[in-house]
Amino acid sequence: MSGDSQQLVNVVIDGKAIQAPPTLSVIQALWHAGYPRVKGVGCLEGVCGSCRVLVRRADEDGVKVELGCQTLVEDGMQAMFLVFPNPTHHHYRLSHIQNSWDLHAQFHRIFPEVANCRHCGGCTKGCPKNIDVERGVALASQGRFKEAGDLFVECIMCNICMTGCAEEIAPNHVGLFARRVTAYFHSRPSNLIHRLEQIRTGELTIEDHDSGQ
C-alpha cells in the first residue's frame, strides 16, 4: 500500500489547488500533483536557501517566509514561491582593503545604509535559522566584526533578511563581510605556515609517484 491510503490535505501552491499527503514538503507536494518545478529548488536539505516560499496557514492571519523543502503541507495552507532577488548592489574586494586599521571606515563606505537601520526587527523575524540578524548588523556597524560574524555561523544566504529590509542594508552580506574580514586579516595559523615553508623549501616531497603510470 502506498500513499493513497493516507489522509490527504488540501493546499494551494502558486495558485494551484492540490491534494497531497501531509508527509510531503511544499516542493514535493507540487511534484506529487504533477506540476513541474525547477526554479527555486536546490539542496532539498535546508542549507542552500533557494526555495523560499510565502506561507499562510489556515489558522493564521500573518504570512511567513519559509523554505519550501523544509515546510510540510497542512490542510488549508497557501504557499507561493518567491522570485529570487537580484544580487546585492554592495561591492568590495578583500584584496582592495590594504590596511586593516582602516577596516571600520571601509565597512561604512561599502555598506553606507547600515547607518540608516530603523531597528524594525524585520530581518531577525524573517530568518529561518533564528539568527539575531539585527544585532549582527549593529555589531558590525560598531566595527565588532568577529562578534558580528559569529552570529552568522548558520547563515545560508537565503536573502530573506535582504528582502525584508526597507533600507536595503543586505544584512546577510554584512554578516558575511564580518566573517570574511575576520579570516582574511586575523587567521594566521602557525602550523599551516610551518607546513607551507617545509613544502616550499623542498623538505617534504612525494616519493615513488611515477612508478604506477
Binding site: 502506498s2 525547477v38 542552500c48 552580506h173 566573517r179 617534504l204
Partner: protein
C-alpha cells in the same frame, strides 16, 4: 522488499532500548558480501559501452544510457541564437567552478561562469565533514598520498594524487584569503580530525558546516570579481572548432527560453556528480542539480572517461519520513558507537567497517526479510540512537545538534526512537579523465571536481572531495587563462553531433533518450510549460 519484512509500526512497537547487544554476524568474508550485495558488484547493473571513446568498457547501466543518449539540439536550434565570445567559459557554480573562475579572472582572462541554477547551488554547500590537508605535525603529504591511493584500492592516478596532496596546505591558505574561517585552537592553529581509513589527523573543518562556509565565501568572492555570472543557464551542448577541439558551448537560458552560443578559448566543466540519476533507484544525499551533465557533454566531444563502474553509497541516509529520504546522517554518529539493528533488534555488522561493507550488510538484511518497511514504500534498518544515549547520557545534544535538528524536522526524537536508515547514493568516484592541469583528452576542454576522475580510484575518503575541487579548480583556471592569447577559432559548430548520431544509428542504440538530463525526473522539467525553449526541441 520482501513481504517477509517487518512493518515500521511493528518494529517500533517491538523496539526496546538496551545497554548491551551482541554482534550476530561478523562478515569476515568481505569480498563475498560485497559481490553479493553492493550495487557496484551486481552484474545486472553493469553494461558495456557501445559508442564513444570508452567503447568496450564496463559502465553503470543508467550512466551508459545517459552518455550514449541523443543530443537535445540540432543545427536548426542555433539559427536564432545570439553569439557571445569569451576567453574562459566555466560550467558549474559549485566550489570547483568558483575556484576556477576566480583564478582565471584574477589572471586577466575574460570569464563567464554559467550555472544551471543559482551560483553556489551544489554539493559543495552540503559537505559537512571537512577538507583534507596534511598540516598536523604527525602527518606528511606522503602519508596523505599513501592513504588516498590505498583507499582507492590502488586505482587512483599517482601523479594527480601526488600533486593534490602537495597542494593541500596552500589550498587552505587560499581559502582563508577568500575569507573562509576554519576551527582553530586557543593559539589560532588549525584543528584537524581523523577521517575513516587514514593514518593521521588531517581533516580541517569549520564545525559541521565546512561546505557552507566555503561556498558562501567563494560565492561572495566570485560576485565581487570580474567574472560574469549567468544563473539559470544550463549547458545543453559543447561546440567544436575546425580541428575538433572544444570551442565553446550552447547555453540555454531558463528565464527567456533562448539559446546562446558562447565561443570560448577554453571550457572548464565543473558540473558535479550523478546522485540525482538515482542509480539502481537509490535515494541520494546529492543536490537537486547533480544529474551528470558534464559526463554526457564531455563524452560526446570525445573525452575519455574512467572508473564509471564505481560509486559511493553512504550507509546512513535517512529513509523515513518520505520528505527527508536520502538525507545524510554523518559518519560521526557511527564513530561515536551507535549500533545498526535489523527489524528483529539484532546487530548484524561491525558498524565501523568501511562504507561499502556496511552498506552491503544493510542491503543484505533488507533482501533477506529482516529489514523494516514503511507503508509509503521505504525500507531500511534501525540506527539505534537511543542505545547510544543510554550508554553515553547527553551525547546527542552535545555532539550531534544537527542530527537532533533533523529529528525535529522528521517528527522523531532520536533520544527515544531509533531512526530508519538505508544506504544513500553519495558520490561518483570516477569521471572524465584529466591531467595535472585538469585538461581532458580533448584540447580546450577541462574538467574539475566530482565530474572528473582519477583521484579517488574506486573509493573516496572523507575530506578529499573538498580538497580536490579547490586544488584542480585553481589549476585549471590558471592554465585555461593562459590560453587567452591563442588565435581564435576559424569555424565553430556542433558538427560532432552528426558523428554521434551516426554511431548511435550504426550501433542500433535507442534515440528516444535525450541528454544531458539537466534536472531530476521528479521535477518534470521537460514538461515544464514555463520553459518552452527546451521542450520545443524534444523530438517526441
Amino acid at each position: 522488499m520482501g513481504s517477509k519484512s517487518i512493518s515500521y509500526e511493528q518494529a517500533l512497537a517491538d523496539y526496546r532500548v538496551e545497554a548491551e547487544r551482541p554482534l550476530i554476524e561478523q562478515h569476515d568474508n568481505k569480498e563475498a558480501l560485497l559481490s553479493a550485495y553492493h550495487p557496484d558488484y551486481r552484474a545486472d547493473t553493469m553494461t558495456t559501452l557501445k559508442v564513444g571513446p570508452n567503447s568496450g568498457d564496463q559502465c553503470h547501466r543508467q550512466v551508459a544510457a545517459s552518455i550514449q543518449a541523443d543530443a537535445r539540439i540540432d543545427e536548426a536550434d542555433l539559427a536564432g541564437a545570439s553569439v557571445v565570445e569569451t576567453d574562459v567559459l566555466v560550467i558549474g557554480g559549485g566550489g570547483a567552478g568558483c575556484a576556477a573562475a576566480l583564478v582565471a579572472a584574477v589572471a586577466g582572462a575574460r570569464v563567464i561562469l554559467a550555472t544551471k541554477l543559482r551560483l553556489g547551488d551544489s554539493n559543495t554547500v552540503m559537505a559537512e565533514g571537512g577538507i583534507q590537508a596534511s598540516i598536523d605535525k604527525n602527518d606528511t603529504p606522503q602519508m596523505h598520498y599513501d592513504d588516498t591511493l590505498a583507499a582507492g584500492h590502488g586505482y587512483g592516478d599517482r601523479s594527480l594524487v601526488a600533486q593534490m596532496v602537495m597542494d593541500g596546505p596552500d589550498v587552505i591558505r587560499w581559502l582563508i584569503q577568500q575569507g573562509m574561517q576554519f576551527d582553530t585552537d586557543e593559539f589560532g592553529d588549525l584543528l584537524t580530525r581523523r577521517a575513516g581509513g587514514t593514518s593521521a589527523n588531517r581533516v580541517c573543518y569549520y564545525r559541521d558546516y565546512t561546505g557552507l562556509e566555503m561556498m558562501r565565501s567563494l560565492r561572495e568572492a566570485v560576485r565581487n570579481s570580474d567574472a560574469e555570472v549567468w544563473e539559470y543557464s544550463p549547458v545543453v551542448e559543447l561546440m567544436v572548432n575546425e580541428q575538433g577541439h572544444c570551442a565553446g558551448a550552447v547555453i540555454s537560458n531558463l528565464k527567456d527560453c533562448s539559446y546562446v552560443q558562447v565561443i570560448a578559448k577554453s571550457v572548464i566543466l565543473a558540473t558535479g556528480g550523478i546522485g540525482r540519476m538515482h542509480l539502481n533507484d537509490f535515494p541520494t544525499s546529492n543536490h537537486f542539480g547533480a544529474t551528470g551533465d558534464g559526463l554526457v557533454l564531455a563524452y560526446r566531444l570525445g573525452a575519455k572517461l574512467r572508473d564509471l563502474d564505481s560509486f559511493q553509497y553512504h550507509p546512513t541516509g535517512l529513509a523515513h519520513p518520505h520528505h527527508l529520504a536520502g538525507t545524510l546522517i554523518t559518519e560521526g554518529v557511527r564513530s561515536a558507537g551507535t549500533w545498526l539493528l535489523n527489524g528483529n533488534g539484532e546487530r548484524f555488522v561491525d558498524e565501523l567497517k568501511p562504507r561499502d561493507v556496511v552498506a552491503a550488510a544493510i542491503l543484505k538484511e533488507c533482501a533477506e526479510g529482516r529489514g523494516i518497511h514503511t507503508n509509503d514504500g521505504a525500507q531500511g534498518v534501525w540506527l539505534d540512537t537511543p542505545g547510544l544515549e543510554l550508554r553515553n547520557p547527553g551525547i546527542l545534544k552535545q555532539r550531534f545538534p544537527k542530527l537532533l535538528n533533523l529529528g525535529k524536522k522528521a517528527g522523531i526524537d532520536p533520544h527515544t526512537s531509533p531512526l530508519l536508515i538505508y544506504p544513500t547514493l553519495h558520490y561518483q568516484n570516477g569521471g572524465v579523465a584529466i591531467n595535472e592541469n585538469g585538461e581532458t583528452t580533448v584540447p580546450g576542454l577541462y574538467c574539475v571536481g566530482e565530474a572528473s576522475g582519477g583521484i579517488h580510484g574506486k573509493n573516496r575518503i572523507m575530506g578529499n572531495a573538498l580538497l580536490e575541487i579547490i586544488s584542480f579548480g585553481r589549476r585549471a583556471g590558471a592554465h585555461a587563462a593562459e590560453r587567452r592569447s591563442l588565435r581564435g577559432h576559424k569555424r565553430v559548430s556542433i558538427d560532432h553531433l552528426s558523428r554521434l548520431r551516426r554511431e548511435l544509428t550504426i550501433s542500433n542504440m535507442p534515440m528516444e533518450t535525450k541528454g544531458p538530463m539537466l534536472f531530476p525526473v521528479c521535477a518534470k522539467f521537460d514538461d515544464d510549460v514555463d520553459y518552452e525553449g527546451l521542450r520545443r526541441n524534444r523530438r517526441k
